[in-house]
């Protein structure tokens, strides 16, 4: 209950921001700013979450729409991987959850960015279909322009869009909260502590948990904060990173959107990279 109540303000901020962006940012504008070189496109896409602060619940449709407007699939994939974390709202909520600890925020940002860049560049090399993009959807639309619609209806539309997105998100917030509450209630803290103290085992334990819990990126830092007292830093960061890239909640939609090869690439690269980074971080913390 407390996880649901606590995450609500952030979820609402996220869905309203996302609705606003979906209403005002056109795919053409995005495509115009997209570099032609793959590495530059991947980097720009990975950082595009700062312009379009969507959570992991809103990122797939947005990535789909970017592709429809001409953004290469590999670049959209980088955006899809990075945007749920590499955006101001989520970084702010992470800072809030970890009491303004800049190290945790920077490490979460860096780990996610590294996975997004790696996935994007590998998708460009290994998945030929990722170089293509969809034709513009707007060619078939001949209705009124957005600007011609009055402010009132647009505001109503904004709220309605935010509401629809809210109901997409809240299902998984409640489900994640139930999972978390069950874990905290039925798993003895001593067992978690024993697991959490191991530099490799702790990372291996929390990564699948993050995938199963599928907590929204605007709320997961608060759940991760609860683990921070028992688990290693590397494990907590791996939890926050992998949970926004590979999660059960978005798995089906991701598969339907990207296809088997791209999804397999994302899962494999992100799991290997996040695990390696988490374990390495634990090693470095132990040394210092």
């Amino acid at each position: 209950m407390s996880i649901v109540l606590q995450s609500l303000p952030f979820v609402l901020a996220g869905v309203f921001a996302s609705a606003f962006v979906q209403q005002h940012l056109t795919g053409q504008m995005v495509a115009r700013w997209m570099p032609r070189r793959p590495w530059a496109a991947v980097l720009v896409s990975s950082l595009f979450g700062f312009v379009v602060p969507v959570c992991d619940c809103g990122v797939i449709p947005l990535a789909r729409r970017l592709v429809a407007k001409g953004v290469p699939v590999y670049a959209a994939t980088s955006f899809l991987v990075a945007a749920p974390v590499v955006n101001p709202l989520v970084l702010l909520s992470t800072a809030f959850a970890f009491q303004g600890n800049p190290g945790v925020v920077a490490l979460r940002f860096g780990m996610t960015l590294s996975v997004a860049v790696a996935v994007g560049l590998l998708a460009d090399r290994l998945v030929p279909a990722a170089r293509s993009s969809l034709p513009s959807l707007t060619t078939s639309f001949t209705g009124p322009d957005k600007d011609e619609i009055a402010v009132g209806p647009r505001l109503t539309s904004l709220v309605n869009t935010a509401t629809a997105e809210y109901f997409d998100v809240i299902f998984f917030i409640v489900l994640g909260a139930l999972f978390t509450a069950a874990t905290q209630t039925f798993v003895p803290r001593g067992d978690l502590t024993a697991l959490g103290s191991q530099p490799v085992g702790s990372v291996l334990a929390l990564m699948p948990l993050a995938t199963v819990l599928s907590i929204c990126s605007e709320a997961d830092a608060f759940v991760a904060r609860a683990f921070a007292t028992t688990f290693s830093l590397g494990a907590v960061l791996a939890f926050m990173t992998i949970g926004q890239i590979v999660d059960l909640r978005n798995g089906l939609l991701l598969w339907r959107t990207l296809g088997v090869r791209l999804v397999a690439l994302i899962v494999l690269v992100s799991y290997v990279l996040v695990f390696a980074e988490g374990a390495l971080l634990n090693r470095l913390v132990a040394v210092t």
Binding site: M1, S2, V4, L5, Q6, L8, P9, L12, F16, A19, Q22, Q23, C57, P61, V67, A76, F96, A97, Q99, A129, A130, S133, L134, P135, L137, T138, S140, F141, G143, K146, P153, T156, S157, V159, N160, T161, A162, T163, E165, Y166, F167, D168, I170, F171, V174, A177, T180, A181, Q184, F186, P188, R189, F222, V223, R225, A226, L253, R256, T257, G259
Partner: protein, 282 residues
């Protein structure tokens, strides 16, 4: 033409229910049983937004769009982008238009089972919050761990500052912890006054129990137990989870190689649970 949409009305009811739940928890002070009071302004704002969303959702939407724009947005498979006609052949609409019309967000796949599950799951916390009276975390929240294993111990290498015990007791657990951080074991003998939950453990003597408090950063999901050993002059017959008020002095007890922080109790009386039973993270 205006038309009522039962699904939209249901969603509005759920949003309003959640807004009312937050308002009720804030008004009765029960929010403190879930979250740090520092988050109350954000929660209030969330309740207002939810209420606004509920109100907007009750307004019937007008069906002014051309008929050929109705239908679903298919989920394209990007691996098949080389065959766009196969991906998009069934649609003639702009997803942006659907958003502008307020029918749905792009990713809101329509499916009655999905929606029913969502509504049921959203209804769960609303019903629980409105019907069930919230309770503060008790000793059962230790997740099966023995309370005695959590008792604070003096750090072996504390930079101890010699202090003369003040006659004025230190009030409650946060100040006691701050005092101990400053003095370490040199603070033994200092009069204290503390409030907390009774937690029992099989490996404690009959005249001992654990005084338990939880500290939270934001909400009870990140709660951390703080446990102090209480040694009474007589048999401690307090029930688990009973709130008690203790007057006594700081002491130290040797146990399995550790020197445990203890309160040597002069007086123990039952007391009411505080309005905010949690300590802000220490």
């Amino acid at each position: 033409m205006m038309r009522a949409d039962p699904a939209r009305l249901l969603r509005s009811a759920l949003l309003l229910g959640l807004a009312l739940l937050i308002a009720k928890l804030l008004a009765t002070g029960q929010m403190a049983l879930y979250m740090s009071p520092a988050l109350d302004p954000l929660s209030g704002l969330a309740a207002l937004l939810l209420a606004a969303m509920a109100v907007v959702g009750t307004r019937p939407k007008s069906s002014t769009m051309p008929r050929n724009l109705g239908g679903r947005v298919p989920t394209p498979n990007l691996s098949q982008e080389v065959r766009p006609t196969a991906t998009w052949r069934k649609t003639g609409l702009s997803a942006e238009l659907l958003e502008l019309r307020g029918d749905r967000s792009m990713h809101h796949e329509e499916g009655s089972v999905d929606h029913a599950l969502t509504y049921l799951l959203v209804l769960l916390p609303v019903l629980l919050g409105l019907v069930v009276t919230p309770r503060a975390l008790g000793s059962s929240a230790l997740g099966g761990e023995s309370a005695s294993a959590l008792v604070l111990a003096f750090a072996p290498e504390t930079n101890q500052t010699q202090v003369d015990p003040s006659s004025r007791p230190i009030e409650d657990v946060p100040d006691i912890l701050a005092f101990l951080r400053r003095t370490g074991e040199a603070g033994v003998g200092q009069p204290v006054h503390a409030i907390g939950l009774v937690a029992r453990s099989a490996d404690l003597a009959p005249n001992e129990f654990v005084l338990l408090r939880y500290s939270i950063v934001h909400c009870v999901a990140d709660a951390r137990p703080i446990a102090l050993l209480v040694v009474s002059s007589q048999q401690a017959e307090w029930n688990a989870d009973q709130w008690v008020e203790i007057e006594g002095s700081l002491g130290s007890r040797e146990r399995t190689g550790d020197r445990l922080v203890s309160i040597i109790a002069d007086r123990i009386v039952p007391t009411e649970e505080p309005n905010n039973p949690y300590l802000q993270a220490i």
